[in-house]
Amino acid sequence: MFYREAGDFKTSYAADGQTFPIAFDRWRYMIVVAIGFLAIPLFITEYMANAVLIPFLIWSVIAIGLNILTGYCGQVSLGTGGFMAVGAYACYKFMTGLDVWYVSACEGGANLFFLCTGVATYSVLFELPEFNIAFSVLMGGLTTAAVGLLFGLPSLRIKGFYLAVATLAAQFFLVWLFNKWSWAYNYSASGQINAPTRELLGFEITGPTATAEVKYLFCLTILFLMAWLARNLTRGRLGRSWMAIRDMDIAAEIIGVNPLKAKLSAFAVSSFFVGVGGALFFSVYLGAVEVGEAFGIQKSFLALFMIIIGGLGSIFGSFAGAAFIVLMPVLLKNIMVGGFGWPTDIAAHFEFIILGGLIIFFLIVEPHGLAALWRTLKEKLRLWPFPH
């Protein structure tokens, strides 16, 4: 009887509708938050932060985002990597002073709304100031929301497998775009983008000299806010309209849900999360990015694996999946390379085999992922030590 719901009566619907209706869960949540914000920064190391904690926090934001679209609204996306790239490049532009150009002279052609049909000479119309990192990350998210909305349009016509293929096209298009579009990487010769040092409240968040605990706390704060937003959205009217579309779109329509609004809002909100994640991935975690390498199709699959293993339609599952996918390679490497002394390339192969096996396992045995296993465990704990 470790875990109990009995005796925990609610006297109002507000109390019953809260995020953690059971006192025990509420306590556990507060303790986890306190450890995250107060205890971990005291003994965080560079290795812990870069290998485990920061990627976990950022991937959690991304997994929540994809879960909103796929788990809550039922729209499969293979474009996560591309949307992360949009967040990263938009963030980069806002960090480094976004420049807007115009056609100052147009020879041998007509100048139609800034579009020259002849030989054009461009000049800078204006340049925005270099924004602080929090605002840049926010703009990364908002830009991605707009792009996501655009690529969500096909979902009004096509479903399931075909939609997945359409989002795959978005993935390849966006990576191609950021490879070719020199404006996006500020015309650098390498085609890479590098995060300059940027501060918030006097602390360096990005750049080579930013410290592990500051970067960690910045990501943790953003994740905390984003998870809170996601939780609120998914338990309210908008979230119910997403789930209604996911479960039975015809019935959703007859209770008044406009499928267009529900699907596009899911795309926009989801992309906002993924964009913020992509912006952090570039600016705080990697620091330097080459688009094909950092935001390729593998990232789309990784995010999808996270929500399948963690649990579709569950915020907690998004955390669990992100933790699992980030931690597993680190653990396996430590065991196989450090413990058994195997060569790293063999260990890497095993990593793939284990990941693949787990995905098949979850798809067949527990489609609701770690979140469902956790629920089952709680049910068992409630009865323990009596079997029934």
Binding site: R237, E253, V257
Partner: protein, 273 residues
């Protein structure tokens, strides 16, 4: 019986029903070569229980689909609350106060009973998305106020015990009841029920009949329902439309319909001369 559209009328069992809420005028609906509905006209009056009966494939479900906007008839007019309705999407029609259940249950399987009915209140909730996102005061108050209505519906349908059960796990009869609850969540002006008792045993049918009568009685909800069980139809409905092969072959009180030779034909296959 001649009816004036704005006048009330009294049924043989002494119930008063109001003016015309919805009127179908010369509706014809075709699917390629198949004529699902052939030039049908009928009305639905305030506060009545209006049954649509007929053999399988008669076009009854298609008629409900015309009413709530899934199908757009090639000919004919739909009048609602005294106005001719222009072609609308189903979700727009929902906002006009028309709710329904389906012949094959169409619940949100991944959601609990509570969430299903709460989702049914979609048209009744107004807080903008950004207020929901930060769970601002008005959004939270709206959520709580609507939860109270949902709890009343749960009590009314006697499904307190399955409040937090995902509906996919419920037995068939209870799923039908939850689907009724979801439609009631909208507090509809007009409630359409497509075979609410199909596949139920006698006891479940009795329960469902009682709920339908109570909804009509306590909330004054106007109901149009499709049903196969003639006994049930005769018991609970005020007026009956009979369809066969897409055409209307009878319209009137249960007694009138029961004695209509064309109806007897369609149901019993007895030849007349």
């Amino acid at each position: 019986m001649s009816l004036d559209s704005s006048q009330t009328m009294t049924t043989p069992d002494g119930r008063t029903i109001g003016g015309v809420v919805m009127e179908m005028k010369h509706i014809t609906l075709r699917f390629g070569g198949v004529v699902a509905i052939k030039d049908i006209s009928f009305d639905i009056r305030e506060g009545e229980i209006r049954a649509i009966i007929g053999p399988n494939g008669a076009g009854k479900s298609s008629m409900l689909n015309v009413i709530n906007g899934f199908y757009h008839p090639q000919e004919g007019e739909v009048w609602f609350e005294g106005k001719r309705r222009k072609p609308m999407k189903p979700h727009e029609i929902a906002h006009q106060g028309i709710a329904r259940t389906f012949q094959n249950i169409a619940l949100f399987k991944g959601m609990t009973t509570l969430d299903n009915i709460m989702t049914g209140r979609f048209t009744r909730m107004k807080a903008p998305w950004w207020q929901q996102a930060i769970w601002a005061g008005p959004a939270e108050r709206e959520e709580v106020a609507n939860r109270e209505v949902v709890e009343k519906i749960i009590d009314f349908l006697e499904i307190q015990a399955i409040r937090k059960t995902p509906v996919g796990r419920l037995p068939y009869g209870l799923q039908k009841r939850v689907e009724l609850g979801r439609a009631l969540g909208a507090e509809p002006r007009l409630l359409l029920l497509d075979e609410p008792m199909a596949g139920m045993n006698v006891e479940e049918k009795e329960d469902m009949s009682r709920f339908i009568l109570d909804v009509n009685d306590e909330f004054g909800t106007t109901i149009a329902l499709i049903e196969h069980d003639m006994g049930v139809v005769m018991d609970i409905s005020d007026r009956v439309v009979v369809m066969d092969y897409g055409a209307k072959i009878g319209d009137g009180t249960p007694d009138e319909v029961r004695n209509n030779p064309a109806v007897i034909d369609a149901y019993l296959g007895v030849a007349h001369d």
